[in-house]
Symmetry: C2
């Protein structure tokens, strides 16, 4: 693995939906790269691949130590992010910019699409025998990257969601009713599953958890589930992923809109808008009122869509997630400095007491495809999570809030 | 103020929308009352006035010290809360229950309606020469009680809102666009005003703040405001109270629904549903897209309704608010034990370094009416808050999140 130090410039970029710890990875990479003499210039790309193409760079060595430390603590992409998913032509432009600036080290912090961008660019470099060490540093609140045990960003989002549910369950015990909370996750239910991490016993919410991996039978099972819990506890707290679908693979928000005679917002391509709107929660609430409210003197139903604070709430990141995101950034830099050509940083969980070690994953194995919540993390009826999931997720969220009860 | 110790039982109840520190006040009162020999039984009313009428009580002396301490840290009403606003007949029942159980000390933790309930019951007791020491312990995230400098519960909600906005502003700088966040507050803008407490400079959001105390000119001023900020910073973060109204005193959510051809959910009395729905944020977003999006290649507009986590998020209360809520509970107990007959605990802010002292307010001065955000806390154009507000609110929220920026 040791080779003659490759001399040239380095570029770091951030991509996709931000997390509370994406800047920890940035600072981790900077810490490792900044002292190295073979790195001539250490550049940050403004808004990811856009900044590379526009040649919009920031000199990362000029940032003072105390500013870097504050940036590490701050949610969202300090360099600016981008939603661009480069095709071959776009990657060509990126590679040209790298060749022009003698960039020999490229670090891209992002999800599976960013891993794919890194893969394409690395292949272009290899094809022209341009030595470019290319590393993907994982981040996503969705926790849906393959190969790795879990993703930086997930633990903090999970901590936020668990704390929101824990407090909200106490609120819903104070003034009992049905409470629906819609959690981010279009395709994978990892974050929604985290809702119950602060639970102490069976009476605690969330009493029902619906994830995109399991079909949501709106007509019968869903209403029955809620009625059963409500009869038992006098209240019901529900966690539902924004991407849940019914038995015909129709998004639940669309299916409900049809039933209730509501309009569904659609984007310019005609696709229903699933996030950035309170519609799913509102429709689920209306549906339950219609189905279960009749004849009940007071049947209180409320819905919240937890929204962007899940990924961006300031001052409440998981300390475990922070340390691991920093480690992922440092490790990517180490791999590149050691002479490794490309890869993605992945975590492996040691047996026994929780501890992770890093290993190099192939870019192609992390790129594009994603990882669903496995079946053994979802209970048999498909409306909750299992102890195996809690065991998996608890170490990732760091400290959970103190909850005390009188009833 | 010293009189012969009044012997009898004591009842504590919690009322209205919970806060993150309402249990601190409960525990503060228990700490003071539990050791007193003249308090025969120390009872908690399950679900406020309902529990009193139903004779559903909990023996508060039986709760272990460590459980009490965990309860103090937990959001929402540990005794259960109630939305009942007792009329004379209801108060009569409460008073009968008190007489039956020889209750001589009554502590009611709640907002202005709870102060009014305490006032009515105390007058009934006085009219029949039944000695009942009756104290209201303030709590509300709305911060709208009169007489007191500020209310327990507000500092924690304000800390949550400020941290949500600070992180969300960094998110919106990462992937620039217009971001609307709807904040709790039907009549008063105190909580919405707190959105900017973590701001470091003029470029930081929230760039615009709309509160119910100021008319929202939807047609011209609002759209102009957003366009101006967006042109200047390439992004715009907006804080808006759920209760904002237009120039005809129509709730903005209703005015927008009419403009956009949307339906507004109404309750059984025909009143538009203002909270517990994402409609205001969604409608404001649609309206801005319609007015400003035309011809722009990418005009990203997103809306979140911050919802119940504002009052119930676990593990993130303001340490100042926690201590003050505990103090309010202890002080109410002290007043009653000293022989004072009735009142509400109020805070006075000392000059110089932040510090509060308590004083007794008259129940009638705190009951029913509320306190708006004063005009000098709102900027001249009515779309932001002033330094005078920041100076007022900053000491209440305790520690704010660290924010570091590269751009």
């Amino acid at each position: 693995m040791t080779s003659k130090p490759l001399s040239g410039n380095a570029v770091i970029g951030q991509s996709g939906g931000p997390t509370a710890v994406i800047n920890q990875s940035l600072v981790g990479a900077i810490e490792k790269l900044a002292p190295c003499r073979q790195i001539k210039r250490l550049l940050g790309a403004h808004h990811g691949v856009r900044g590379i193409v526009k040649e919009d760079f920031l000199d990362l060595r000029k940032i003072k130590r105390d500013v870097l430390e504050r940036v590490a603590q701050t949610p969202a992409a300090a360099l600016g992010s981008s939603r661009d998913k480069p095709d071959e032509a776009y990657c060509e432009k990126i590679f040209k910019s790298f060749a022009k600036f003698d960039v020999r080290y490229f670090f891209y912090i992002g999800g599976n699409d960013s891993a794919d961008t890194a893969r394409i660019i690395h292949e272009m470099a290899a094809a022209t025998r341009y030595e470019l060490r290319t590393f993907h540093i994982p981040k996503t609140i969705d926790n849906d990257l393959r190969v790795t045990d879990h993703c930086p960003g997930y633990g903090s989002a999970a901590r936020y969601v668990a704390s929101a549910f824990a407090g909200d369950d106490r609120d819903n015990a104070s003034l009992p009713g049905v409470k629906i909370n819609v959690v981010m996750g279009r395709h994978a239910g990892w974050l929604t599953a985290a809702a119950g991490l602060a639970r102490q016993d069976d009476a605690d919410g969330p009493h029902l958890v619906y994830v995109p991996e399991v079909v949501c039978h709106l007509v019968d099972k869903f209403v029955e589930d809620v009625a059963r819990i409500y009869d038992r506890f006098g209240r019901c707290q529900i966690a539902v992923s924004e991407g849940v679908q019914d038995e015909t693979h129709t998004p639940v928000v669309v299916a409900l809109a049809e039933r209730l005679g509501h309009r569904v917002e659609r984007d310019s391509h005609g696709n229903p808008q699933l996030s950035g709107t309170g519609a799913l929660g509102d429709f689920l609430g209306d549906y339950l009122k219609q189905k279960l409210g009749e004849g009940k003197k007071s049947f209180r139903v409320r819905a919240d869509t937890l929204g962007y604070p899940q990924r961006s709430f300031a001052g409440y990141a998981s300390s475990v997630d922070q340390a691991e995101a920093r480690l992922a950034g440092r490790t990517a830099a180490e791999y590149a400095l050691e002479g490794t050509l490309d890869g993605s940083v992945a975590f492996k969980r040691a047996a026994g007491r929780y501890r992770v070690t890093c290993f190099r994953a192939e870019l192609k194995d992390v790129a594009r495809k994603t990882k669903d919540l496995p079946r053994n993390f979802i209970n048999r009826p498909g409306n909750g999570v299992t102890d195996a999931f809690y065991k998996y997720a608890l170490p990732l969220v760091g400290e959970l809030p103190v909850i005390g009860k009188l009833f």
